[in-house]
Amino acid sequence: MDLWHYVGIGFSVALHPVNLFYCFLGVFIGTLIGVLPGIGPVGAMSLLLPATFKSSPEAGIIMLAGIYYGAMYGGSTTSILVNIPGEAASVVTCLDGYQMARKGRAGPALGMAAFGSFIAGTLSIVGLMLLAPPLSKLALQFGPPEYFTLMVLGLTILIYLAHGSITKALLMAAFGIVLGAIGMDEIASTPRMTFGRMELLDGVGLVPIVMGLFGISEVFLNIEREIRRDIFQTKIRGLFPTAKDWLDCKGALARGSLLGFFLGILPGGGGVIASFVSYAVEKRVSKHPDRFGHGAIEGVAGPESANNAATGGAFIPLLTLGIPPNVVMAMLLGAFMVHGIQPGPLMMKQNPGIFWGVISSMYIGNIILLILNLPLIGIWVQILKVPYRILFPLILLFCLIGVYTVSNAVFDIYIMITFGVVGYLMKKFEYEGAPLVLAFVLGPLFEVNLRKSLILSHGDFSIFITRPISACSLVLALLLLLSPLIPALSKKREAIAKDEIS
């Protein structure tokens, strides 16, 4: 009864004309940046964060969330038509999607990607609605030790799933925590590492760091080499998959939705891991695994539904615990904070309109996306043809404007450029940006909860192992960190990392 009452509140918020407009804007921009290479959902969200300052919090968050799941839709278009993924979660769609396009089946591939995304996206929102309330109640019992150890576990999972070296990912997380601690100390009211700069008293901004690491550095990487994009020249017709296609895909859609949703909840997992795992599962359960890589429609349906289901799952730790499981959610946490809202167990009670409004808007957003992606596919194909030499100056301009309008400080532009260079070098030397950004966002919470726990326990570290939830979290984190020492597990992890890179 309560659930339906709140769903009613949610839809009354989501269906407000202004919020509908922001929802449309979000999914439109999401699809656009999913189609365009060179700027991902994180960059686009940080770019548009200032645009939400003038809007109501719910409208702003609805738009930013729309960018996230919209990008998942858009990314599949480039994978299928150009064999270049628009964003990381659509990498695996290239394998069979592009092959289908080459065989004249671009229409059903695009159609199945869109329908699969819609079905999985909607199912994951139902899961989010059902799981979020009981988890919020449970989270109310959490104290500083539980929060601290959950953040340790979250960071550890992200580090474990990072491409390549765990040591490098750990190093990035430590650096992120240091960056997050810069500014005024909350407990002792002492300025820390501000080097006499007033701008740093409030800490380093999330937007300049994210835009530098994911926006500017990406431009540097793209202009240093010639990129050739050959759009597969084919007439796209028959976007509706055939009855046989649906029969072939029904299992893939169900499995992809379930896998994606639960992997999305895991910190660091998100759409990328979900799509890879789904592809591997589909290949394993298929009676004809040899068809995979040669245009099997299940190879499109599974991963596409998984990466969209993961977006719904990813909202659970953010909305119920206040802990973002991935960089995109970290960005969304920043947006909540800008509007004075603290996501977490109390959010559902304190801001039910925003909580349920954002969730309900995702249903509407999914319907808009279906309309945007099927009848308007021709427009996205045209946009694909815009050359990068025209795009990159515009991406840079929007980054420069976006970062300045958040704080009105030129200092932040310099920070963004610095992190652009750092991010560029990090990619060259195989260091990942995601652990850095997530640790940066979690850093202040991580520090405060650690210090509070130690003050509570009079300096006794056993507080972390005598409480069941924190003990479980620590044991899991430890097992993950030690797992590379077990050869079989280490090989499995390396295989996932290699798959993702290739």
Binding site: A181, F220, I390, L397, L400, I417, G443
Partner: protein, 153 residues
């Protein structure tokens, strides 16, 4: 010294040492009452330890010939450097020249010098993009953008 992780780990050792020193300077406190430098001190130490392990592992690794060249080979250095310098110059003159002028100059440069286009395309593209951005961000969204000496806006 041609192992690529050697260079990066030395960089991170320096960053870790800076954090370690700042933590020590701010006051580490003790476990009963951690001080403001607690997190910097320990994270700095962890960074140094991790970087040292990368350094040692890299030093012991058998080096595949030409690894450094594979990272940097085939790169249009001029493009990356010129974009970087143009961004720095834009930031430096941003408040003096104002948004419209500085954005237009930057865009003309990026359209023309980095990936050469015809002058007409570069100038028209730059002016129209700067104007659209100005209308969207300054006029519609009400964002603060510097007017510069031309006092436009």
């Amino acid at each position: 010294m041609s192992h690529k992780d050697t260079y990066s780990s030395l960089f991170w050792i320096a960053i870790g040492a800076g954090s370690f020193y700042e933590g020590y300077r701010l006051g580490v406190g003790d476990l009963h009452n951690p001080g403001p430098g607690f997190i910097f001190f320990w994270m700095g130490l962890i960074m140094i330890g991790l970087s040292l392990s990368i350094l040692v592992r890299d030093a012991l690794r058998k080096f595949p010939a030409g690894e450094m060249t594979s990272v940097w080979s085939g790169i249009h250095w001029k493009k990356v450097i010129s974009v970087l310098i143009s961004l720095l110059l834009y930031s430096y003159f941003f408040t003096t020249l104002g948004f419209l002028l500085s954005a237009t100059i930057l865009l003309v440069f990026l359209f023309k010098a980095v990936e050469p286009q015809r002058w007409r395309v570069a100038i028209l593209g730059a002016v129209s993009s700067a104007l659209v951005a100005y209308l969207v961000f300054y006029v519609w969204l009400g964002s603060q953008l510097p007017k510069g000496f031309l006092e436009i806006g």
